[in-house]
Symmetry: C2
Subunit: 297 residues, 2 copies
């Protein structure tokens, strides 16, 4: 950080830091099969390229989910990602949310409108994607799911859970955090020590030229995460390295504490779909959402 590096040294530095994070917390073992969840943004492009360089490509599977949102299909990005996975020799699964879990985001929104209820489409999109990723990971017998969360995301999530006093979620941010169900394929975040500005540069250096496009459903209200994000960006600007400091400090402070949560019981199962759900629930959030808009009875 805060050093001027030439292109080659910059790239080597990113690869080294990802490898060192994987090793430090034993995120992925050399022979494990990893499902890479790649949306097509610069973070996920970086995840794909980095993982292909530090892990056996035959043990990698890429997954892209298509939300099914009119006016937001990003076909050019998808073609680019497909040519990239071909070039890297990595199997690439492309599925719509309808194929994966039964309903696109647009279908969800349409049904919601008909019933005159209001649920943020992001709620469905997030939950449906998580469900779909886990389903595909199980079908493919993947040992791990790798997501493209970067340092900025990690810092935000840590601070958010601290401010909420949500300690069960706080410990789950930690790379040694508890894993609450055998039915969930364990998720890892190889880029968690890499800044977003670094993935942007890394992706650019590797021919990624797309601008971030905004989902038409995006709601510009200052959520807790948005406010924390703004705050953390200012802090990083004033004192570069602050976010890395923050994440590393909390990683260290929680390193032993997380083990206390290993004793948590297996999550209960949803009475409708049989998938794991939260401790206080009988029906999972996904089925609840589908029921509320009449997509399941």
């Amino acid at each position: 950080m805060n050093r001027a590096l030439c292109r080659k040294c910059f790239i080597d530095n990113i690869l080294e830091r990802v490898e060192s994070e994987i090793k430090k917390y034993n995120l992925i073992k050399p022979n494990e099969c990893v499902l890479l969840a790649i949306s097509g943004g610069k973070d996920s492009f970086t995840l794909l390229d980095v993982m292909a360089k530090i892990h056996n490509p035959n043990k990698l599977i890429a997954l892209t989910l298509i939300e099914g949102i009119e006016g937001y299909n990003r076909a050019d990005v998808l073609e680019f990602m497909k040519s990239k996975t071909r070039e890297l020799g990595i199997d690439h699964i492309v599925l719509t949310l309808k194929e994966a879990v039964g309903a696109t985001v647009d279908e969800f929104v349409k049904n919601m409108m008909l019933r005159n209820i209001r649920i943020p489409p992001c709620t469905y999109c997030g939950i449906a994607r998580r469900r779909a990723i886990n389903k595909v990971a199980r079908e493919q017998n993947a040992d791990k799911v790798a997501t493209a969360h970067v340092l900025d995301d990690e810092a935000q999530t840590y601070v958010m859970n601290i401010l909420r006093g949500d300690i069960t979620r706080l410990v789950q941010v930690h790379p040694r955090g508890p894993w609450l169900s055998k039915l969930f394929v364990r998720k890892v975040k190889p880029l968690r020590k890499i800044y977003e500005r670094e993935t942007a540069l890394y992706a650019y250096f590797h021919g990624y030229k797309f601008q971030e496009r905004e989902c038409p459903y995006i709601i510009h209200i200052p959520t807790l995460r948005a406010r924390i994000r703004d705050y953390l960006y200012r802090l990083e600007l004033e004192k570069p390295g602050s976010l890395l400091n923050l994440v590393e400090s909390l990683d260290e402070a929680l390193n032993e504490y997380v083990k206390k949560y290993y004793e948590l019981p297996e999550l209960p199962r949803c009475k409708i779909c049989g998938e794991p759900t939260s401790y206080n629930r009988e029906i999972c959030k996904f089925c609840e959402l589908l029921m509320s808009v009449g997509l399941i009875k």
Copy 2:
């Protein structure tokens, strides 16, 4: 929290919660002599009254420091606090910063102005007060120094140190945090689980009628702490109990981790005054400040 209590139950509830916090972390043992650092604000009034009710008053000594700032002498508050300590049968030491450590805040500022340098007066005031409190505590053979920091302060300090990634300071917020020098009398914060709004009500119920007055040296710039304070107030407003949650979560998460810091070596001594100073210093911040304005050579 969030319950409507009658006056008596409200007061009993505060006393119980302070006692339970003291017991939980063994902050003060029954036979220990405690120096109460009381500025005269509602928080310190509450500290004084609560401690007199739950600890042997013969084992309590009150200390009020007078900053020596023209137009900010608060003689009425001081008289009120003196009558209160008399009523409670508690010895009350009143000292100016000049008597305690050699220079008032005004003297410091005057000398600074003459040399045309700029140091926030709060920097001197804070460091001089800390020095003075510790000096008096040692002279009085106090076992502990109790300060009137409340839950709001604790939450801010926790978040501030996390955002700074300052883990050595983070662990020192914890009631089981490391203590870095035998020359420092251990500080405890009996009100650390009590909200500021509760001390205001507690003080009011006990005849405290003063408004907070603003120090003429106060600088209204958005410091990190001020921004965190604003943010946390909003959060508490949206979801009452958030600050308590935050402090309790971090207390729990750090409870074992803090012990790692017990192995830190004794702090080095200042080459001028012989008092403890930070690991990376030869001359303590207090002597450095006095030297920089020519108050010591």
